[in-house]
Amino acid sequence: MTRRDLLQAFGVVLRGAIALVFPACAGRREPAGPGSSTHPLENTSSTAKLPASEMENLVALTEVLVQGRPLSPFERGKLVEAINERALSEPERLRLYRLTASFLDQPGQPRFADLSLAERTEVVLRRRLVPDSEREESSRPLSPSEPQDVVRRVGVPELIACYYRSPAGWAVVGYESFPGRCSDLLGYTRPD
């Protein structure tokens, strides 16, 4: 399998999952017929940007997921950059992000982003949003109509991927040079 295959495979898997959740976004768009069910976020404009409050929720969730501590300004900046870039490149992703961000807030409760790290961690655990490596679950079909299932199995991996493929994620492993950053040609010959 070539590198191109790998990237394609990841894109296909993720897009497949997102398309399952947002079927009207996949492939050719057909007008919805009378009585057809529409996803609550279906009418989101494809050119809309993620509102700041929703971005704050996503960052707050990602902090819990990828580090278990508050992100530094550098990390936060790179994460926001990565989320925005991906949201802009595909309307399906924007819809996924919006669903994830809105799912985190609960009626009568403080905004997710306003909670302390410990409180957010408690919410994540209570609502079973963290990755689950149990094999039987990965073979269970995704339920597009269950937001919790979508957030846990598509939204959460998407945010983890966003962080770890960004310069912040590469910094975790000590890399200043990584795919997408042109640099010193001989850097790859050295153990540093």
């Binding site: 990237l7 990828v66 994620g169």
Partner: protein
């Protein structure tokens, strides 16, 4: 353009990719008037950084046309993703190739004679050597003569080799322990500034090279062809069919842009250079009274013998960090198993020592772990850098059941049947890959690797054999000059004319053959001195 008639030119080339771009330059520099029809756009070099970002997001940065233009179907034991494996536009697939520029070995041209398998080529390595040299010079190939299995060269590589990577050193020590020779991997990529293009800056996204250090004909040939004043490139010009007269000579090609309005170009000579799938498809679409089964298809072999290169990756976890992912291409390989063996019993493969192994990037490690929070960060920190990989790249033998045909059930943007690709990987190739996997595993074990595993079989992005060359018109489509046996003014260039695949990528051989065909066409135009 004439008043109401077709545009006229001396040579009409269909496709501005590796072969078409090279031929445009080679003919134009000899004073021949050339018109190139390219179905895709002229990709803006200044937008390559944007393409790089798209690539990193897992998107196809070269896809710029309506999807209806790229419809295709496939069957067989391994899927062939045509839409991702070719690029429309000036530069063609050279825009997205990996840039590995290996010569075939002399034995690769004589499989039937030496081993009783496949076919012999109508030309030898010695015939092609001067053109290999010219192609290496034109594309700027970096390398050195440390490959013990390379056939003789008449000149050194034009550019010095890329240094071995840190992990190459680890591989080299392990290879030495198990008796395998590791050597440099030649590539059409600037190890130093060359021909007005910059030195590689290790951006890690070679599928989209943002600096132009990787050779692609939109940089190395097409502008130079246009600068002669003899070549013109028309983009957004998809050829729909070729038209012939009663003597079965091509008189014109019919093309259309996105407006679907048909236009014509007439010329005394045509070159079809649209890639192994599209060239075959265009020939099959061009039916006439004299060619009821398609143009140049008296043999019935147009579209047959489709081949690429079956590939598997063997990965493992080594105890010491290997520092991968800091350059987008591989710098070391071994052709120890590609040449000197009884290839009827043991197929040819080469080993590529990966600087970019699968499944080892921070994102891959994070997603596969099932962990989160502090435990996830610790896991990524600890595990990163220990994944190494070896790619096994295998020769595929010609099989007429592997093919490109028209699928009348699926129509493209212009209403023409889409291509249908059938690719089955036979027992010979599977046995070869299994042997390659065993060898790779031995090397990884010598490195102290654990968790050794093999990827699924996949196919490299090559399109070989669909209009193969040969001396016998009953068993081949073009002759050794790449002229169609049954259409005297039509040349079919590109990787589709290769008779067998070797285990090496086809790019440099395709380029060398295009230069050779250009020389032949130019010789037809001018009488020899003193004649």
């Amino acid at each position: 353009m004439t008043a109401n008639g077709p545009e006229e030119t001396e040579v009409c080339i269909i496709g501005a990719g590796l072969a078409g771009g090279i031929m445009a330059f080679e003919l134009a520099r000899r004073g021949i008037r050339v018109l190139v029809l390219e179905s895709g756009p002229r990709h803006d070099f200044n937008r390559r950084f944007e393409g790089m970002r798209q690539f990193l997001q897992g998107e196809n940065p070269w896809r710029t046309l309506p999807p209806e233009m790229d419809r295709y179907t496939f069957s067989g034991s391994v899927p062939y993703f045509l839409d991702y494996n070719r690029v429309r536009g000036v530069g063609g697939s050279s825009l997205g190739w990996e840039g590995y520029a290996l010569r075939f070995h002399a034995n690769d041209f004589r499989l039937r004679s030496l081993y009783g398998i496949g076919e012999d080529w109508p030309i030898s390595y010695e015939d092609l050597e001067p053109y290999y040299r010219a192609a290496e010079s034109a594309l700027g190939v970096a390398g050195t003569s440390d490959d013990p299995w390379a056939s003789p060269r008449s000149s050194p590589f034009p550019l010095p080799p890329f240094a071995f990577s840190y992990s190459d050193g680890m591989f080299a020590r392990a290879c030495a322990r198990v008796g395998i020779a590791l050597h440099h991997l030649p590539q059409a990529r600037n190890s130093v500034a060359y021909a007005g293009r910059s030195q590689c800056r290790a951006c890690g996204t070679c599928h989209v090279c943002p600096t132009g250090a990787k050779a692609s004909v939109d940089l190395t040939h097409v502008p130079q062809a246009e600068a002669t004043g003899n070549a013109r490139v028309v983009t957004d010009a998809t050829v729909l069919r070729l038209e012939v007269d009663r003597s079965n000579r091509v008189t014109s090609v019919v093309y259309a842009g996105r407006d679907r309005r048909e236009r014509r170009v007439s010329a005394p000579l045509f070159v079809l250079a649209a890639g192994g799938v599209e060239t075959a498809r265009l020939l099959l679409l061009s039916v006439s009274e004299s060619s009821p089964t398609g143009l140049a298809n008296a043999s019935g072999l147009v579209g047959k013998y489709f081949m690429c290169h079956p590939v598997i990756d063997i990965t493992g976890r080594v105890p010491k960090k290997a520092y991968p992912y800091r350059v987008g291409f591989s710098t070391a390989m071994s052709r120890q198993f590609a040449v000197d063996r009884d290839r009827a019993r043991q197929g040819a493969f080469y080993l590529e020592f990966l600087n970019f192994p699968r499944d080892g990037q921070p994102e891959d490690l994070a997603l596969a772990s099932g962990k989160w929070g502090e435990a996830l960060r610790r896991h990524v920190e600890t595990e990163f850098g220990h994944t190494v990989g070896i790619r096994v790249y295998c020769e595929q033998l010609p099989d007429p059941r592997n093919s490109v045909v028209l699928n009348p059930q699926v129509k493209d943007y212009f209403g023409n049947p889409a291509p249908h690709i059938t690719c089955n990987i036979g027992p010979h190739e599977r046995a070869t890959l299994a042997e390659g996997a065993t060898v790779a595993k031995r090397i990884l074990e010598a490195m102290g690797a654990s968790r050794i595993q093999s990827s699924e079989l996949s196919l490299a992005a090559h399109q070989i054999g669909t209009h193969r060359m040969g001396t016998d018109p009953r068993t081949s489509v073009v002759d050794s000059t790449l002229r169609a046996h049954d259409v005297p003014n039509l040349y079919l260039v590109g990787s589709g004319c290769l008779v067998t695949t070797s285990s090496s990528p086809p790019g440099l051989t395709t380029a060398a053959l295009a230069i050779r065909a250009s020389e032949h066409i130019a010789s037809l135009r001018r009488p020899a001195a003193g004649a």
